[in-house]
C-alpha cells in the first residue's frame, strides 16, 4: 500500500510557506476586524434592547433609553427606538430570554444580511463527521432565532442552552483531558435550571416594564438566591441595575453595574446600562 507515503504531507515546505503567507493575518488586520466585531456586537445589544422595549408595550424608560443611546431622541416610545434599530444592527441572542429579543434578532437581520451567514454557519462540534455533503448539522436554536427567514419557534429561548458548550479558552487543554461522561440527570437539570432562570428573569422584566421596581427586585433576589452561578447572571445583574435605578437606589445600582463589569467587562449588557443611573457619570462617582 501507499499508506506510508500518504501519511506524509503533500505540500512542500515552499508550498506551505507560500500558502502560509496568504492565510495569515497581520496584527493590524486582526485589530481592525476586532473593532468591526465590537461595532456589530454593540449594534446587536442595542437592537435587542430596543425591540424588547417595543415588545413590552410600555417599556421602562431606562431600558429604552439605554437602548437608544446612539439615537438622539432617547426612546420616548419603543417605535421611535425601533427606527434606530434599523441602522444599528442585529439582535443579541443573550437577550432572547425575553421573547421580544427573538423578534429583535430577526428584525435586525434584515438590516444586517451578513449575520445570516454567521447564523447558518453555526455548527456543532458534532462527533459524526465534517458535514461535507450533508449540510446543516444540527440547527441550533440560537441560529434558528437568528434566521431571518424562518419562523420563530416558541421554545427557542429554552432550547438555546442545548448548544455545544465549548471549553474556556484557558481551560481548553485541561478539559480535553477531562472525562466527559456527565450523567443524564445533569443534562436535564441544566434545562430545568435555565427555564427556572428564564421564568424569574422574565418576571423581573415584566415588573420593570410596569415600573414596579420592588417586584422586579424580588424576582431578581429569588434568581440570585436560587441560581448564584446561573447562566443568565449577566442578564440578572443588568436587570437588577435597572431596577435599582428605577427605585432610586443609585449607589446600589452602580455597585451592581460594577459587579457586572467585573464579571464581563465586555458585556453587551453594560451598553444597555450606559444611560441608566448605574453607569452614567460613573467617572464622577468613582473619583
Amino acid at each position: 500500500m501507499t499508506d506510508e507515503a500518504q501519511d506524509r504531507p503533500v505540500l512542500s515546505t515552499a508550498d506551505r510557506a507560500l500558502l502560509d503567507a496568504t492565510v495569515s493575518p497581520s496584527d493590524d488586520q486582526l485589530a481592525a476586524t476586532r473593532r468591526a466585531i465590537g461595532a456589530r456586537i454593540a449594534a446587536l445589544a442595542t437592537g435587542a434592547a430596543i425591540t424588547q422595549a417595543v415588545s413590552s408595550a410600555h417599556a421602562t424608560g431606562t431600558v429604552a433609553t439605554a437602548a437608544a443611546s446612539t439615537a438622539p431622541a432617547a426612546a420616548t416610545t419603543g417605535f421611535a427606538a425601533l427606527g434606530a434599530a434599523k441602522w444599528i444592527g442585529a439582535g443579541l441572542i443573550v437577550t432572547a430570554i425575553a421573547s421580544g429579543a427573538v423578534v429583535a434578532t430577526r428584525q435586525q437581520h434584515k438590516a444586517d444580511p451578513q449575520a445570516h451567514t454567521s447564523a447558518s454557519a453555526v455548527a456543532q462540534p458534532s462527533r459524526a463527521t465534517l458535514p461535507a455533503s450533508a449540510p446543516a448539522p444540527v440547527e441550533q436554536p440560537a441560529q434558528v432565532a437568528a434566521h431571518l427567514s424562518e419562523p420563530v419557534q416558541p421554545s427557542e429561548p429554552a432550547v438555546a442552552v442545548e448548544a455545544p458548550k465549548p471549553a474556556r479558552a484557558g481551560a481548553a487543554k485541561r478539559n480535553e483531558r477531562r472525562a466527559s461522561s456527565t450523567p443524564d440527570s445533569a443534562y436535564s437539570n441544566e434545562g430545568e435550571t435555565l427555564s427556572g432562570e428564564l421564568t424569574l428573569l422574565h418576571g423581573a422584566r415584566q415588573a420593570l416594564a410596569r415600573g414596579d421596581a420592588s417586584a422586579a427586585l424580588q424576582a431578581l433576589d429569588a434568581h440570585a438566591a436560587r441560581y448564584p452561578n446561573g447562566m443568565l447572571r449577566q442578564e440578572a445583574l443588568s436587570a437588577r441595575a435597572l431596577a435599582l435605578c428605577e427605585a432610586g437606589r443609585t449607589a446600589e445600582a452602580r455597585r451592581t453595574a460594577a459587579q457586572l463589569a467585573r464579571i464581563a467587562p465586555r458585556s453587551p449588557h453594560l451598553i444597555r446600562l450606559a444611560d441608566s443611573c448605574a453607569l452614567e457619570d460613573t467617572a464622577d462617582a468613582k473619583e
Binding site: T22, T117, P125, R127, L130, A167, E190, M231
Partner: protein
C-alpha cells in the same frame, strides 16, 4: 508523545459527545465557570480562525466579514459555555460552516476571478526578485486551484494537517472525527491533492 496522548483523549472525549439534537446539555450550572471574556477568546483564537477560513478558501476580500461572522456567533453563544469541549473545537466547527457557506456562495466565480484579490504581494519571503515573484504567484495559483477542487471535508483536513500542522489526533479532536477515520480520509485527501497538483504540473 504526551501531547499526542492528550489530544487523543480529546478526540475520544468528543466521541462521547452528545449532539444537541438529543436535547441534552452537558454539565450542570454548578460546575460552570464564569462566562469567558470575549476579548480573551478573540485574542487567543482569532488568528487560528482567520487562517482556517483563508485556508478553506475564503478570499482576501471576504475574510474580514467571515471572521466577523464567526465571532459574532461566538459572542452570541459564549454564555452557553461549559468547558466540555475545547474552545478550538467549537471555533473550528463555526469557522468550518462559515467557510463552507462561503465556498458554496462563490462556487460560481471562476477560480481565476476568485484568486484575483490574492495578490502575489502577499507572498512572504526575503524580498524575492520579480522572477521569483511571478513563479511564486503561479505556484500559489496552482495550489489554490488544487485546493479549490477538493471537497469541503478534504480541504479542511488538508488545511489542518498541512497548513496548521496539526497531528491526526489533534485533528480528530478538532473535527470530532475518530482518529482512524481522520487517517483514512486524510490519506484520501492527500492522494487527491497530489493527483490534482500532478495533473496541473504536467499541463
Amino acid at each position: 508523545m504526551v501531547k499526542e496522548a492528550i489530544a487523543t483523549a480529546g478526540a475520544l472525549e468528543l466521541h462521547g459527545y452528545r449532539p444537541a439534537a438529543s436535547g441534552v446539555v452537558p454539565a450542570t450550572s454548578a460546575t460552570r465557570e464564569p462566562v469567558p471574556a470575549f476579548d480573551e477568546v478573540y485574542a487567543e483564537h482569532a488568528r487560528f480562525v482567520w487562517r482556517v477560513l483563508r485556508g478553506m478558501g475564503v478570499r482576501e476580500s471576504g475574510i474580514d466579514d467571515a471572521v466577523q461572522d464567526v465571532f459574532i456567533v461566538v459572542h452570541r453563544r459564549l454564555h452557553e459555555f461549559d468547558g466540555q469541549h475545547a474552545l478550538s473545537t467549537w471555533l473550528f466547527a463555526i469557522a468550518y460552516r462559515v467557510a463552507c457557506d462561503h465556498r458554496r456562495k462563490h462556487k460560481r466565480l471562476s477560480t481565476h476571478d476568485a484568486l484575483e484579490d490574492d495578490a502575489p504581494e502577499h507572498v512572504a519571503g526575503d524580498t524575492p526578485s520579480p522572477a521569483d515573484n511571478a513563479e511564486q504567484a503561479q505556484r500559489l495559483r496552482a495550489l489554490h486551484e488544487a485546493l479549490d477542487s477538493l471537497d469541503d471535508e478534504k480541504r479542511a483536513l488538508i488545511v489542518l494537517a498541512e497548513l496548521e500542522e496539526q497531528t491526526v489526533p489533534q485533528i480528530a479532536a478538532l473535527t470530532g472525527i475518530s482518529v482512524n477515520t481522520v487517517y483514512t480520509r486524510l490519506r484520501r485527501a492527500r492522494l487527491e491533492l497530489q493527483a490534482l497538483l500532478n495533473k496541473r504540473g504536467s499541463r
